[in-house]
């Protein structure tokens, strides 16, 4: 079983990678695949038996370069299962493995098991309203696991052995020129996709995310937004939670001024606890909220933040 180790250019592991390692180790012997030239944080990867570091002849961020790197590791190990974090970039990688190697691909899985030698993944579909279990019938299973589905254990065990590989060059990949790439600096808050607590601001904020930020400070939360908020330019598009944005599965989701359109619900409905604060009593988000407040977020959120600070002393 191989795990793709997503990382920043600095070599810092994405939180999702640690979750995948935990998941893979619960299923059996796990090996990592590290694409590119960034330094490998071996201590953080304890528990993996090996890390396959693959040099690629192209920009290492291109989906096809990552696909080639995984292919090299699959050839070297004979792996029959590949786990990746379920991001849009990794979906491109998985699609290429599907075409190039005949893999069966499951996206957005929230659990993975081996049953009778076959990979079975659980996932929610139709904007979180149905749950399904999907079996991969091809010899190679590529499963994209939703970040936040599996709590990461602290790394334990021996340091993995590093095995060096070089991926082949393909004509099509060589045609793509990376004109510009800028990795965004962190926001100082937890990573949205993997955060345990997420606060989302919607139309009701009218562009003022002050109350959202204040409560996020108290809760140590990541901040997300609805498509209306990102379309209005109130916050960057990378903050968009929903079907075409980031999918979140936090322990606690707080929607502030979020009506709960289907696009948005598809990206957050698997949250553990859903809290909603909105002025409109008919907002659809109240149909799925565990705790709903019909009220003005500009008074409710600051009061909640103040009360939480008081309770903590």
């Amino acid at each position: 079983m191989l795990v793709l180790l997503d990382h920043a250019d600095s070599g810092a592991l994405r939180p999702s990678a640690l979750e995948l390692i935990t998941l893979a180790r619960s299923l059996g012997d796990a090996e990592g695949v590290w694409v590119g030239s960034a330094p490998v944080p071996l201590e953080a990867l304890a528990g993996l038996t090996r890390v396959h570091r693959v040099a690629v002849p192209y920009d290492e961020h291109l989906a096809s370069a990552i696909d080639e790197a995984l292919s090299a590791a699959i050839d070297a190990t004979g792996a029959s299962v590949v786990l990746l974090a379920s991001t849009f970039d990794n979906k491109d990688v998985a699609a290429r493995l599907g075409v190039g190697r005949g893999a069966g691909v499951v996206t957005d899985a929230d659990a993975v098991a081996l049953e009778g030698g076959r990979v079975v993944a659980a996932k929610t579909v139709l904007a979180g309203t149905w749950t399904t279990r999907v079996e991969v019938v091809a010899p190679l299973a590529v499963v994209l696991v939703k970040t936040g589905s599996v709590p990461a254990d602290e790394p334990t065990g021996g340091t993995p052995e590093v095995v060096e590989h070089t991926a082949g060059a393909t004509h099509a990949t060589g045609l793509v020129e990376v004109v510009e790439r800028t990795e965004r600096a962190g926001t100082g808050r937890p990573d949205l996709a993997s955060a345990q607590v997420v606060i989302v601001g919607g139309r009701g904020t009218e562009g003022d995310f002050g109350p959202v930020e204040e409560l996020a400070d108290v809760l140590g939360a990541a901040i997300g937004a609805t498509r209306v908020a990102t379309d209005e330019g109130w916050i960057g598009r990378d903050a968009q939670v929903g079907q075409t944005g980031v999918t979140v599965s936090p322990r606690l989701y707080v929607g502030a001024g979020v009506s709960g359109a289907v696009h948005h619900r598809g990206g957050m409905q698997s949250a553990g606890t859903i809290v909603a604060v909105d002025i409109d009593p008919d907002a659809p988000i109240f149909e799925i909220a565990d705790f709903g407040v019909v009220g003005d977020l500009f008074t409710v959120l600051p009061q909640a933040a103040a009360e939480l600070r008081r309770l903590r002393g």
């Binding site: 139709l126 800028t182 009061q303």
Partner: protein
Amino acid sequence: MRIVVAVKHVPDIQADRSLADDGRLVRDGGDGTLNEVDENAVEAALVLAEQVGDAEVVALTMGPPDAVDAVKRALQMGAGSAVHVLDDALAGSDALGTARVLAAAIRKVAEGGPVDLVVTGMAATDGLTSLVPAALASELGLPPALTQAVEVTLDGGAVTVRRELDHADETLRAPLPALVSVSDSANEARYPNFAGIMAARKKPVTVWSLADLGVDPADIAPRTRVLDAAPRPPRADRVLVTDTGDAGAKLAAYLVEHKLV
């Protein structure tokens, strides 16, 4: 220049959607619509065609008889002609099978003149796998990675896309022919006007079967199988309060009581 825009007919996300006993999506509820992001794909294709001048936009879809509505919408928006791949053997196709069929259809379109650009939406609201664009590019041997575009420009026989990814912003450029998938932030899709709706009635929709495309149904057999599917139970013990001055404090108490802070 010829641009193929691939579109999908999906159940309306505002309607009650369900899975049948075999785990397949119920597609004959009668409330289908053009997949939302595909409107952005059609818009992108039309704008590029307008910029280039002398360009033809072909709308392509596959699916059951109702799926023709997706290409009809594209024709109303301004596409010049359409192709509908219709075959009983398509039922239950997965994303990778879909990509193989669309690739065969695009090759057949190219028999009538080269296809320079393929445009798709980045996701369909039914399956939401987002696998088809990259798989289709791979099937066609086109440059990879031009997905999730928020901006697409054509110049000098090359396509340039700007992408806003989870952790980075990126600009990629590749020579034509190429495939791009666009995000819903790429543009504001036009509504068909009356003239467009009238003109669409006269535009041709070619129907092809798998045999016409030379695709063996065995080649598109799904590689995954749904074992079981069930609607999620509604959340229990839900609380709804109307703020009378202390809802913030109640919210704080709820979070503490449920050990969420």
